[in-house]
Every structure is written in C-alpha cells, then in structure tokens.
C-alpha cells in the first residue's frame, strides 16, 4: 500500500477509486440492524460492555480541575451503590486538564485521552498543532484525539491531510525514552464531510497515515455520530484489516445518549466486525450523558424497578 501515498495524485487516484457508498442501502442496513431486540442477559452484557467502552468526556470552556476530578471519580466508580459496575475506558479532556485527570486516575488503569490539534475546528498551523499534541503527551496523555483539517480534505489536498496525521502520530511518541507512544484517534467531523463517500475516503486516508482509532465527530457541530456514518467507518476498518493486516479501532462520538442507541451500535459492531472489535481496546463511545442512562438501565435490571435521574450524579 506504500505506493498509494507516494504522491498527491496517487493518493487521490486511490481514494477516488474506492467503491462508492450506496447511501440508500447503507441506511436500510443500519435501520434493519437497529430493530434487533436485545433483552435480559444479553442486555445486561451489552450494558456492562458499553459502560466499559465509554470515553467519559468533558470538553467545555467552563471545565475546572474540580469538575475533571469529579468526572474521574465517576469513571472509576460509575455507580458507588453497585461495585460490580465496570469502569469506563478513558476520561477525555482538553490538553491543559491532562495532568489533573492523570493524577485523579492514578492506579485505576483508566486512560486519559486529550483532544489536540486545535480541537474542535482544527484551524491552526501545523507547528501549533504539533506543539499542542506534544504538550498533551508530555503531560501524560495515553490517547490523543486529533481533528483533521476539513478545509484541506474538502478542497482535495489529501496528501496534506495525510502528512499532518503522520506528523501528529510522530508527535505522539513519548519523549521519556521509553519508545512508547500515545494512541492516536483521528476525528473526521463527519457532519462536515457532506457525503458518505468522503467519510469512506477519510477513513482510508487516516488508516494509511497510521491512525490507531478513527472517530466520527467532535460533538461540537450540529450533526454528530449517526449509525450510517459509523457503519461506513466499521466497514472501512474491516476492509483495511483484510487488505493490510492492521486492526484499527472505531469511536463514534456525540449524540449517543441512550442505552438503546448504544446497544444499536454494539449490534452493528458485532454484525460488521464480530468479536474482534467488541472490546474497549477496539471500540469506544465518546459520550457524557450516555453513562447515566446506562446506569439507570443497569439499576432497572438489577432491582426490577425503573430508576430515575435522582439516583445518578448530576454532571
């Protein structure tokens, strides 16, 4: 696959040579998968799995160290009244909150994910984006969520986007001499990419550039993760592994608020990719309010009584 990234024209030829997405078929497929009925023990399993896949997120201008610490405490013990509740996968914060989160999560095994590269717009020069990334990695981030330059992508400068992802990936290497690197998640902001074809192209582009995860959205625009868009990503990682032999993770983010939605996504993962991706290592939910709904559903299953918002935290 190395030759397809040799030049701008080769990359364009490759990306535009990808099969087009059948939009109607895609929507019909997700609608069909969305009708699966997941009940009782399967539902309990799905809820716990979904909780363990959450990147519990706070990305507000008003974030304080106290709020981040509270979120970390919640991530470690989502339901203090029921210790069998699994931990979340990661806490996702802005770069300047990484040290606070890292300290609050010491010993828990929960990762700290930092958004970087001028999140959410991605409108900054490359040196600034790289500095942003290095700063978060130096502060201890285990995962970096970068945004692509949609302006460059939409105007067809694919190699520029490719190079940018590659450079950010290099910046994820820790400078402590351990030779390890933070995991790189690449956000496409699919709500701004206009077409499913573009989403498929962006997926391949990011995977070729070395993304460890591909992620739908920032959660900061009107249209965030949708089931059809996520299915395009899932098919892309499946085809990429078949072609190149490298497994890449998927993270839908934004707008997933209910357990029902989360379970629909899990059904999609299982039907498209199978067991290999059904773990927090390969599939994540970028969400904040989803966790409370999952906890309420979990309480319903364990007590038989419908729970309410009085029995979960106010975030």
């Amino acid at each position: 696959m190395a030759d397809v990234t040799a030049s701008d024209s080769a990359l364009r030829r490759f990306l535009h040579g990808l099969p087009g997405v059948d939009a109607v078929g895609l929507q019909a497929r997700t609608a069909t998968l969305g009708t699966r009925s997941i009940k009782t023990t399967a539902k309990a399993y799905a809820i716990d799995l979904a909780i363990s896949m959450i990147d519990l997120t706070t990305l507000e201008g008003a974030d304080t160290p106290g709020k981040v610490r509270a979120l970390c405490a919640k991530g470690i013990s989502p339901d203090p009244t029921d210790r069998t509740t699994p931990q979340v996968a990661a806490i996702c914060v802005y770069g300047d909150m990484v040290a606070t989160a890292k300290e609050a999560l010491t010993g828990s095994g929960i990762h700290v994910a930092a958004v970087a590269t001028a999140f959410p717009s991605g409108r900054a020069s490359l040196p600034v984006k790289l500095a942003d990334t290095r700063d978060a990695v130096a502060a201890g981030a285990d995962e970096i969520d970068m945004v692509i330059d949609r302006g460059a992508f939409l105007s067809g400068r694919y190699l520029e986007v490719f190079e940018e992802i590659r450079r950010v990936k290099e910046a994820c290497v820790r400078e402590d001499g351990s030779g390890t690197a933070a995991h790189l998640k690449v956000i496409f902001e699919t709500g701004e990419l206009q077409t499913y074809d573009n989403v498929r192209r962006a997926s391949w582009l990011a995977m070729l550039a070395g993304a460890d995860f591909i992620k739908t959205s920032t959660g900061k625009v009107a249209v965030n993760a949708t089931p059809p868009v996520t299915l395009v990503l899932l098919e892309a990682v499946r085809d990429f592994r078949a072609a190149v032999g490298v497994q890449v993770g998927v993270k839908p983010a934004g707008g997933i608020r209910t357990s029902k939605d989360a379970i629909k996504y899990l059904v999609m993962v299982n039907e498209t990719l199978g067991d290999d991706w059904l773990s927090p290592e390969w599939f994540r939910f970028g969400a904040s309010s989803l966790l409370n709904d999952l906890l309420m559903q979990r309480q319903k299953l364990s007590t038989g009584r419908y729970s309410g918002p009085d029995y979960v935290t106010v975030d």
Partner: protein, 286 residues
C-alpha cells in the same frame, strides 16, 4: 345515493402531548354497560408507563415553574374546550356507564364545573397550605406549598369522567405533572379528555393518559423511582396494598382509595395531598 360508510375512531394513548399507539401494539375491546362493542382502546404496557413518566418528568420543570396565575388560566381554558365538546362527552359517558342522556349530561356539567373550581385554586392554595410561622427570634418564617413532582393517578373505575376529572385536576393545578391510568372498563372518556388537553395550551407531558389493565400498568408506576406520589383511587383493596408496599421503596406519597361520592362537592384534601412544604427563614431587619 349510496349509504355513507361510518368513520370509526382510533382511540390512542396521550403521552408527552402526542397520541401514540401502545408500544406493545396491543388493543382491547371496550364495551358499553350492556356489553355491546364500542371501540378498541390501546392496552398499554409497562414500557408505555415508563415513557409516560419520562414525559411527565420532562414537563415538570416548566409546569411547576409557571406562575400560578398562568396555570389557572390554562386550566380554565381546558374547561372552555370541554364545554365545546360537551356533546361528545355526554354520549361517551352515557354509553360507558349506561346512563340516560340527561343523567350523563349532569355528570359532564358537574365535571366541567369541578374543573373550573379546581382551576381557581391555583393562586389560592398557598394561602391555605402556607403560613407565616411565629418563631422565637427576629425572623420571618414562611412556609409555602410546592408541588411534589410526578404523580401517578389511577382513575376511579366507577366514574369514567366525573371521577377522572376529580382526580386529575387537583393533582396538576398545584404544579405537579401526572401519569393517569384510565378506568379499565370505560377508558374512552379519558382518552378523549387527552384530545381536549392537547388543544388547551397545556404543555405536552403535564397530563399523560394510559389505558389498559390497571394492575399491569400500576405496578411499574408504583415501584418507579422517578415517580413522587401515587393516587390509588382506581385500585381495589388487594391491589392497593400491593402498590402501597411497592411505593414505600422511594417513600412516595400515597393517597389510599376511599369511598367517594364523586357528585358531592369536594374539599381541598386531594389538592393538599400532593404538596411538599418549603419553609424559609429570613431576618426581619431593623
């Protein structure tokens, strides 16, 4: 000219200001007092009950936060709409309860008057249930009644419209929102009331009407952790005991079933049941 085909009405639930069918897709046959088929009513499931509670909770902030004056105006508007649909309700009550047109008419008139009576209480209940308490110190000590939250209401089985109005109006006039389980045998007036409420400026979700088996719908409502009170008017003694036990789990306010003559003028008991008292201290100043 050929004979005109009649247009049969599809009765539906009233949840969150919309008219959904039961999530379960089920219906049951509703008959008149002599057993003749009248219509199919939705047979609501526990998931419909859950959805109704979510809708009621969502509506609570706006409705309880509206001024008492505004709530009174909206409830009065409901009475105006009821007046306009009087004929329909008279027919439905007559069929449901096997009454003559004139007796049913009396029931409907009493129900509308009762609605107006309760509407008037919206900006007066604080004077009755609140107080300026004398305390040993230079403080104003003021108690004011506040709505308790989401109230599950099991409508009376024996009075399909007058009884129904007599349990809904006192629950919502003070700012609560309600999930109403219509009488099992005669739910049609309750489902039609939903259509009136939907066109009366009442925000969606303040009143939600479910029809079906009272015992089936009431059980999840009684144990629901996000329901603050339950009116057991429509439960038989055995069911009431069971529901009261389930309601104890999150300390719901419970109004036990009692023999009520719905045609008699009510007192404020129902109105005052679903209130919480908030007391504030404030220095009197110099």
């Amino acid at each position: 000219m050929s004979e005109r085909l009649s247009v049969l009405k599809t009765y539906k639930l009233f949840v969150g200001g919309k008219f959904p069918r039961s999530e379960s897709g089920r219906v049951y046959e509703v008959t008149d007092a002599k057993g003749k088929w009248l219509a199919n009513a939705p047979l609501a499931s526990r998931k419909d009950a859950r959805d109704a509670v979510v809708a009621a909770r969502k509506a609570f902030g706006g409705w309880s936060g509206a001024t008492a004056y505004n709530r009174g105006q909206i409830l009065y508007r409901v009475a105006e709409m009821l007046e306009g649909r009087r004929g329909q309700f008279v027919a439905e009550v007559a069929e449901a309860e096997g009454l003559s047109k004139s007796k049913a008419g009396l029931q409907v008139d009493t129900a509308i008057d009762r609605w107006v009576w309760y509407a008037g209480w919206s900006d007066k209940v604080a004077q009755i249930a609140g107080a300026a308490n004398p305390v040993a110190g230079p403080y104003f000590n003021l108690s004011t009644p506040e709505p308790t939250g989401v109230v599950a209401v099991l409508a009376p089985q024996e009075s399909s419209f007058l009884g129904l109005v007599s349990v809904i109006a006192p629950a919502i006039v003070t700012g609560n929102t309600a999930v109403v389980v219509a009488g099992e045998r005669a739910p049609l007036p309750a489902l039609s009331l939903g259509e009136v409420l939907a066109t009366s400026d009442l925000p969606g979700g303040v009143v939600n009407v479910l029809s079906g088996r009272t015992a089936e719908i009431a059980a999840p409502l009684a144990s629901h952790q996000d329901v603050n009170a339950i009116d057991l008017a429509g439960a038989d003694p055995e069911l009431a005991t069971e529901l009261e036990r389930a309601a104890a789990e999150n300390l719901k306010r419970v109004l036990r079933p009692q023999p009520v003559d719905w045609t008699a003028a009510p007192d404020t008991a129902r109105l005052l049941t679903f209130l919480e008292t908030k007391t504030v201290w404030h220095p009197t100043g110099a």
